[in-house]
Symmetry: D2
Subunit: 83 residues, 4 copies
């Protein structure tokens, strides 16, 4: 069994209004040491199987087919073996 963490971020240069909003709100509350804020989404999948290489390929395929928009998103996959 594997746990896969898929992290989906906006590509560099794509504005992140939610991050910008958080930055302004923190500054408003007096946290002026905060200089930038970005948000991103993660998906944690529990996957049956033993072949790490093959699982990674499958998860990459899931990202392209369903989970991410390749025009605006970059994604990253981390696998962790669990018993």
């Amino acid at each position: 069994m594997y746990k896969a963490i898929v992290t989906i971020k906006l590509k560099k240069g794509v504005l992140n209004p939610e991050g910008r909003t958080i930055l302004r709100a923190l500054n408003f509350l007096g946290y002026n040491e905060v200089k930038d804020a970005k948000t991103f989404k993660s998906i944690e999948l529990l996957i049956e199987g033993d072949d790490e290489e093959k699982i990674k390929e499958k998860v990459d395929e899931m990202c392209r087919k369903l989970l991410a928009n390749p025009v605006i998103h970059d994604y990253e996959i981390k696998l962790e073996k669990i018993e």
Copy 2:
């Protein structure tokens, strides 16, 4: 300067409709090896300062005041020194 990653997850037992939807969609596409799916949100903050302990406290305060809903969310803070 520090980079803080705040990870905000729904508490155990709080239903995550988005994760459930992703699980069903992946199964529909034939990925039957996927047994569970959960989503969570992260916020990456760039913070000026050198005192790691104090920065961690501040970020914890930001979570309680603004970024998380303590009734339904757990959060986790990771700091990384950057030059």
Copy 3:
């Protein structure tokens, strides 16, 4: 054919950190006339069929089974006939 708009809001009393963040950010930018902010999500479905009553029931079932978390969300369904 029908278009269904499902609107999913946090129940009264459930804190909406994203709305709170937006309120603070707008005030920070000088929009002090903004007194409250809440966010919510909508899902627009295109549904084949002619029986409005039955479609509404089905969409209600989709909300309970998949789209909403009944513990923290209220939802509302609007149907519009399209050709």
Copy 4:
């Protein structure tokens, strides 16, 4: 006092992975009458003031400065007078 509802949708042609995921999940559950699904976000603002024209202009400015990403989002503003 006015209530402003800002609706933020992905522009036509921008892939909406969340909507696609919902469509697949509903089909998986047997709701084959659902032919398309899109998601969008709304923000409900409570705004002090009486000049509807001016409030609309201000909210439009908030969208451009903070709430939306003009490259990927379209937005729509609806105002409703409340006492």
